[in-house]
Amino acid sequence: MEQPFTNETIDTLQLPQFEDAELTPIHSSYLTVVWINIAVIFGIIAIVAGVGFYFIQELHTKWLAITLAYVVILLLTIVVQVISFKNKAFAFRTHDVIYRSGAIATTTTIIPYNRVQHVAQHEGVLSRWLGLASVEVFTAGATGSDITIPGLEKDHAIAIKHLLVGKIQNQQANEE
């Protein structure tokens, strides 16, 4: 029973290791997008809270608790978002794409090129203004298996897209 695997253990040590791949962090202007997003969301919450304070008398007694909660959540969000920005990194190896992300939990997703279904390129309003784009890689796997790499310079995103599309076509050509 054990034998088939012991064969492979030797192999596994010689296999290329994904954790050795050098990951490229995403573009630093993406941090601007992160900041603006936080500002917009918390700005809206602040406005809603202000209106609430103006119209609902009972809230006045609880202003300290509400303000404290707001500040704590804001700080937490900033910390999480900044760590998450620093954690986002990707690498394109010969046979697969690696993407790392997350703040509280770090996830590393790896998609072999021969399992890529299609590639999409997105540009948000903010991102376009900053000359950024994101690339989404789809597989046939269940939800959660697709990766979106944000904060790529537009030329870079297009290059990546071409690379992936080329790999897919190569793959299909090989099959036929």
Binding site: P4, E8, T12, T107, I111
Partner: protein
Amino acid sequence: MKSDFSQPQRQSLIGIVVMFGDALQGSVRAFLPILLITVVQGKTNAAYLWGSGALILVLTLVIGYLNYLNFSFFIDEDSAEFVVRKGILKKTRIGIPLGKIQQVNINQSLLQKIVGVHALEVDTAGSNKKEVTIKAISHEHALILKDRLLQGTDRVGEEGYDNEIVPAQKEQHAFIKISLLSLLKTGITSNYVRSFGILLAFFISTLQHIDDYLKFTGINDDLVDEYVNTDVLLRFVSFIIGAIIFLTLMVNLVRTVIRYYNFRVTKQQNSLLLSHGLISTRNTIIRPGKVQIVTVGRNYFQKKFNINDVKVRQASDLDADKEQKKSAIEIPGCSNAEKDKLLEFLLDKMPERGFKVKPNFRKMIFESFKFLLIPVGLFFLFAKYAVPEAMDFIIFVPIYAVFVGILIYFAFRNSRLFITPDFIVKQSGAWDIDNDFIAPHKIQALKLTQFFWQKGSDVGIVNLYTAGGTVSFGLSNFTQLKKLVNYWLYQVESTEKNWM
């Protein structure tokens, strides 16, 4: 009628009944809300209601008949198409190139069973919904038409499989047949949790009603309390528990038998055809190439009874999210020998268990936190600040804690990953122990997850994504998981095999 499908032809004459039935169903669905509203408002008189009911019925019959008259099908040999014409006012002609036909299913609903006809569904690669359904066709006719339609498929090449026409007789030879006895065994040994939950909810709400009733009618609480002394209460509770257990068993038994009665697995060319059902017969096709995950599950009783529950997950059509759940096909009550036969056919070879990976004991801590600490904490918070009456149920907290604690312990003990070059086997479950079998080349993507506090203890979770679902394992030694991920990546990237 001859078995010549080159001329346009109608469905079986008796099929008019089925058309009536279908049209009737349609009109009932359309008019029932209106009818209910009028009845509830109670302003219209009975004669008017009956009159409109009769009118609708007559109209329905006419529509059913016209539907029958206007429905015809044939195989156009010149353009190699299967053509269906239908529609009373809006005429539709659907032509399906024979080469595009993916599968042909023969089904039978209750009504169709009564009048002795079958439905024939033609499924194409183009979309996820059934393209064409012939609602009434005799069985032998259906079989011949099916063979004729699938011949076209073979020409275009299911990996160059021999193009032989399967004669009708051959269908009778079953690969696996699940006996009624096995179904009964499955019925009384599975799905405890679900049925138990449903029945418990039912009993609690009934008790609540009785309580409300007593209060409403003003029966003196003290009197009731006096009457209902501990002895009676104990007997009552044990009666209820007994009744719930009995009903759970009965409900499971009836459900299993109705759903899976006369379960037959037939080998057809390169795929398996499943057919089952007491009231309506269902047919499903399993193609080994499309199979992504095979799960074999059984609990302690099922082990003693020598039965297994086999679930097969096939790759869903790319744009069919809804179908994804449906695509878990269940084969209940297989004996060990039958299970092995199935596994060998679906996975090409018998999977071995191989190298064993165990979870880290922190898995139990993590799960206790998730399923014990947080729910119990929420309960106390809820009881303290929102609904003080909830404290009456405090007796259930230790019961819950012990129950969940036992489940977590056994789930931990059973959680294993077995690796061989050809298969990944994940064993999991506390009571129902499942074994998921995956061939490495079916992997679409791999994901490793680690929370920041898990870095020090070097544990984490791995997710394996396939087109038929996701398999997740952990918490386990992260260094080892990384090694495995590298190994699987190597396997996926170096394989010539396609995932579908």
